[in-house]
Amino acid sequence: MRQATGQSRSPGKSIMLTSGFAVALAAVLIPFYWLVVAGTHSTADIFGSPPPLLPGDHLGENLASLQETASFGQVVLNSLLIAAVYTVCAGLVCTLAGYAFAKYRFKGRNVLFGVLMLGLVIPNQVTLVPLFQMMADWQWLNTYQAVIMPNLALPFGIFLMRQSMAALPDELLDSGRMDGCGEFRVFLRVVLPPMKPALAALAIFLFLFQWNDFIWPLIVLRDSGSYTIPVALASLQGVDDTDYGAILAGTAIAAVPMALVFLALQRHFVSGLLAGAVKE
């Protein structure tokens, strides 16, 4: 019945369905709109009656307050740096491993892949305490590497890459080998170029994952100068006299690059996610 053939058979039904969806979408998007509005008002205004429904002129003061209470400039810098380095390093680790699983038959392949997928199923909380102790022993608390290193070999990323690489024809790789390329050059010159959409999807995913990650940075970053954005925002919340104008301005700012990246590359993101998600 509902194949997307592009032809609407009944205009009346179509308009009803579309307007119903428009209402639902508006409801889903209200929090975003409201976030932007609230971030530009003072806390007193936000909790006034009636609440503000249009953007105000308090953004500057909110940002100044954020800078003062949470060194927000440093926090944004921490987040950007951690997310960027993580994306590049984890991208490399996951792509190499995904390629090995997708394109080579070797002894122990199934066992290794099975062990890796165990990582998808075992809850992260199981490893939190020992990981924290390791970081403390190595004196890595409050460092960037403490946030970055433990999740570099991300099972989901490896899975995603394996699925995408599996679609690459073997003949292409063999032709590279015929041309005298070594295995790593084949990977670099033959495999990577056509994988650009999948790599874009992986990169967005990794960046968002790290940008938004909360519990692990919360645990290893103990000094407010090393906080990432989510940790800093959460630390501001719940203190007496919480400055919600400032927190919401910070939240809105944190969401802007994310939304831009997503809007620009969403086609890759969704299709890349699907490649990893649906194959059985």
Binding site: I46, F47, P51, Q125, V129, F132, Q133, A153, N212, L273
Partner: protein
């Protein structure tokens, strides 16, 4: 020179190829996957496998006056008698039994509609409904906690316009659970719809045509064509949602800190409290292991129930 170089590349002398190059290249090919896997394997072993093992070891110890003492299964026994653990388990179970099925039903409807030719501007809707999924948990936790403020929040103000009374969204135990469910649904429905939508697009349209020829209505073709076709994706979303729900931490931590009156205390929050507020690592590790076993058992059951026929 200009002619000999490409020639040597495309057609090397057979003798040279056999003797000099093919063997090392083959062994390179044998070694290559292990080299490619090396970084991932080392990192995974150090930062995942070792902590998983270490966690079990920790769960057998108890820290007394700063000294770790082996206590066997004491931590697990303590869990069984800990009312807070059972509260956390029950709260997590409620989300699992009520919120997850509702959300997956909603996601299925959303995916079907997003795939329907009757819907105009499908691209806009797809994008819009998926936006919440990229929002960080802390960000949306903060947004919701302000929106749902009892006295001053936008939600209650909107309700007051239609004459409804104040809803104690985050301060009443039952409403706090409902609020948590709403926030979770808002965040994850789009994500699940993406997975279901992809699967939906692989169902051949001939099946729908055949159903129509047999006189099936919209509901019947949904029930007999769409749902069976969706089975693998439904299994995946069910398993992922179950794993995610059992581990749930960020939302209750940000929205309610597990309150009021422990109504939104989940296993994830309770584990965090024990580990990083009371520094009772042994007990926290025991909770983590019970959680891991639960996830394993539930995952297996779901595979059995949903996975068999495909």
């Amino acid at each position: 020179m200009t002619t000999s170089a490409p020639q040597a590349r495309t057609a090397p002398p057979p003798a040279r190829r056999k003797a000099g190059r093919q063997r090392p290249r083959r062994s390179g090919r044998r070694l290559a996957p292990y080299l490619f896997l090396l970084p991932a394997a080392v990192l995974f072993a150090v930062f995942k496998l070792y902590p998983i093992g270490r966690s079990f070891f920790l769960s057998l110890y108890k820290s007394v006056d700063g000294v770790d003492r082996y206590v066997g299964l004491d931590n697990y026994e303590r869990l069984m008698d800990d009312p807070l653990f059972w509260t956390a388990l029950r709260n997590t179970g409620v989300i699992l039994v009520i919120q997850v099925p509702l959300m997956l039903a909603l996601a299925t409807g959303l995916a079907v509609a997003l795939n329907s030719a009757l819907l105009r501007a499908r691209a806009v809707f797809r994008l819009g409904f998926f936006l919440p999924m990229i929002t960080g948990l802390v960000a949306y936790g903060i947004i919701f906690s302000v929106l749902l403020n009892q006295q001053y929040g936008l939600a209650n103000w909107l309700l007051s316009l239609v004459g409804a009374g104040e809803v104690p969204w985050l301060t009443d135990p039952l409403w706090a659970q409902i609020s948590l469910g709403l926030a979770l649904t808002w965040h994850y429905t789009g994500y699940n719809a993406v997975i279901l939508l992809a699967r939906l697009q692989t169902i051949p349209s001939e099946l729908y045509n055949a159903a129509a020829v047999d006189g099936a209505g919209a509901w019947q073709s949904f029930r007999h064509v769409t749902l069976p076709g969706l089975r693998p994706a439904l299994l995946l979303t069910t398993v992922l949602s179950t794993i995610g729900t059992l581990q749930i931490f960020d939302e209750p931590y940000i929205l309610t800190r597990g309150g009021p009156d422990n109504a939104t205390l989940t296993i994830g929050v309770y584990l965090y409290q024990n580990a990083f507020q009371y520094f009772d690592f042994g007990y926290a590790s025991a909770i983590a292991y019970v959680l891991a076993v639960l996830i394993g058992v539930l995952g297996l059951i779901q595979f059995r129930v949903l996975g068999d026929k495909s």
